[in-house]
Subunit: 399 residues, 2 copies
């Protein structure tokens, strides 16, 4: 636990980390070359190799992100609630670090530094368990981090890479109840599912997004096309991209052709129900599997629904609880949709792509929680803290 | 999920519950007589039989507690955060019900109604799994609750007693991930440990309290005696009662005799280290086991420590993380203690017994969380909610 370290000490250490990343870029790139060569040799897809690859520019960007984190407001010490009780006791609920945060994540080595910076800024120690494909890069990056912390006067062990490249190291991390306060998996659906199922350490589920756009009977159809195409195609590989569009039957005839043209122009394949299939020969017939699929690609499932309640019922059955959007000019319909849909974020006349810590003004995020306990939605620095009560009296006793 | 039920409907239903408890008291008492007779027949200790027993007065008190819950502020719909983003999007983070709350609890049948009322008030459905020793009483109480809800126009299934008296019913509840949003065990340490270990549903750990009182070198010794005796003996059977006293060596000679007399007068047996043993023949030698014991009785472990840091080290090693108190006139020592001790509540010159939802002004509590995620300390109605983001735009899309 870093609680007794002052904000000044933590911020100075993070500045030292940023400086060290710049100064030791060559060393980091040399390690990364090994990972990249190994990935290419084992036939890793070029897109994955690209995410794994570091360049001088990327390391500079990582260092710059660390400086941005330093500049964020410190959550530790924030008084969340406070009052003087009738008996004169002063009650304060104060944010404190969680303690030790474990992160299990996939290929991108930038997550190593990003997650460590957020944890350190919020006063936590962090255990990092990255992908074995990035092991050399992560080892180099964590080495740089630890040296910089040590030189800045913080314990180097505030940041640790879980040793070993095999499955056992992840399993050990998941079983370290009492030693690790929370585990945050960052990556694909199967990684997250496996952590949730195996961990005895409390887990914050992140990131699986089967997001929906519902086009209401009263929608401005130009706006609906814009929101739909942006939700699906602006960056299809991320969790807040839309995967299904639901259209009110009253506007299907007017909307479907326009949506299909716009989606086709954006390179999107539509997997549609019978109504969508009738509207256009380009539509691939949807199977029941499509409703539950997080494509993360230029594909979208599409259905026509008789009314808003049917859209809500479809969403409740299939959503991963990440983000759903309604496009509607009807204030009552928007209110009803936001009340009935219980997802992390509900958008009214806005793209699903806005569910993001940066977009929400949090400055940075460690992930997007799709669970209900502790944190729900983009997790910034306050979500990396717990609270404790400090109660001050003059010898108060209970009757 | 009860989210779409208005506060008016939920409050009316809770008033109907209170009325029905009064009107059907005879029926409840008749069921309770069966449980009590069975408990006596199986040789249950009289203290446990007393906690199991209902009387007309006790049922009236339970109904009155329900009316108190109705009068509390509704947490659902509270806007926790809200701002207009630079791009004009309106961002609101709003409290919503958790969904389905499971409660696993021991003998007292009043918990059945108390927990149901708090869950209903906060818009949740509740699954109750009480002790098999109270099964007839709980069945009667839940029958009354369900009838009242139904008559008030709410789904009776908002409150359900998990059927069956055996272990399997608890196990099924613990494995209902995806159906139950959170599980709250209320009871002894072994119940809580078994739920934490077996549950795949997220659990909120409650109530184990190995609480410490530290008497600093600068303590007002009269105050220290008062705080110590109150922390230990005002009600020893509860989780916020003190179980260990640590005394700074500089005041041991002056404090120990006075503390020993006061504790003896309150009927408390001291299990002390060598210093305490030297101070008084009545002191029972403490073994290492005593430091980790939650006595819940008129017993206390006692040690002398060389300084505040040693007290903190002892607490960090042995505490269950519930409540620790310092008695000190030295503001710097108090600040250091509150910074270094990472428990749910840290008391300065006040009894550990104040860690309580009622004392903190929350109106009611469903338990005292000793974990870090989601809720820490006494859990009132807001702790029975999650949040979601509602984001409203005018067709906003991301660049």
């Amino acid at each position: 636990m870093l609680a007794p370290q002052s904000r000044t000490a933590r911020d100075a250490a993070l500045h030292a980390v940023a400086d060290a990343l710049s100064a030791r870029t060559d060393e980091i790139l040399a390690a990364n070359v090994q990972d990249v060569a190994r990935a290419r040799a084992t036939g890793t897809p070029e897109a994955v190799v690209d995410r794994l690859t570091l360049t001088a520019e990327r390391v500079a960007a990582i260092a710059s992100d660390v400086r941005d984190v330093v500049a964020l407001p410190d959550p530790v010490g924030e008084v969340v609630r406070g009052r003087t009780l009738p008996n004169g006791l002063d009650l304060r609920q104060v944010r404190v670090p969680l303690g030790v945060v474990g992160i299990i994540y996939e290929a991108r080595p930038n997550v190593t530094v990003d997650a460590a910076a957020l944890c350190l800024k919020s006063g936590n120690a962090v255990l990092l368990r990255g992908s074995s494909s990035a092991y050399a890069s992560n080892t180099a990056l964590v080495g740089v981090l630890r040296d910089a912390l040590h030189e800045a006067g913080l314990p180097a062990d505030c940041v640790q890479l879980v040793p070993g490249e095999g499955r056992e190291s992840a399993t050990e991390l998941m079983r370290a109840r009492g030693l690790v306060d929370v585990l945050i998996p960052r990556g694909g659906a199967s990684l997250i599912r496996s952590v949730v199922e195996q961990s005895t350490v409390p887990v914050i589920e992140t990131g699986v997004g089967n997001c929906h756009v519902y086009v209401d009977a009263s929608a401005d159809l130009d706006m609906a096309v814009d929101v739909l195409v942006n939700s699906k195609a602006q960056r299809p590989s991320v969790c807040n991209a839309a995967e299904t569009v639901l259209v009110h039957a009253d506007v299907a005839e007017a909307f479907l052709p326009r949506a299909l043209d716009a989606l086709a122009a954006a390179g999107v394949t539509v997997h549609g129900d019978a109504s969508w299939q009738r509207a256009d020969a380009r539509v691939v017939p949807a199977t029941v599997e499509d409703w539950g699929t997080e494509y993360l690609s230029y594909d979208i499932a599409a259905a026509v629904v008789p009314d808003l309640e049917a859209a809500v019922a479809h969403i409740r059955e299939w959503t991963s609880g990440h983000t759903e959007a309604i496009v509607s000019r009807d204030a009552a319909a928007a209110r009803r949709f936001t009340a009935l849909v219980d997802s992390t974020a509900v958008m009214v006349n806005a793209s699903t792509r806005f569910t993001d810590g940066g977009q929400f003004g949090f400055g940075a995020e460690i992930g997007i929680s799709t669970q209900k306990l502790h944190a729900r939605g983009p997790m910034g620095l306050p979500e990396l803290t717990a609270t404790k009560y400090v109660v001050t009296g003059d010898g108060h006793t209970r009757d």
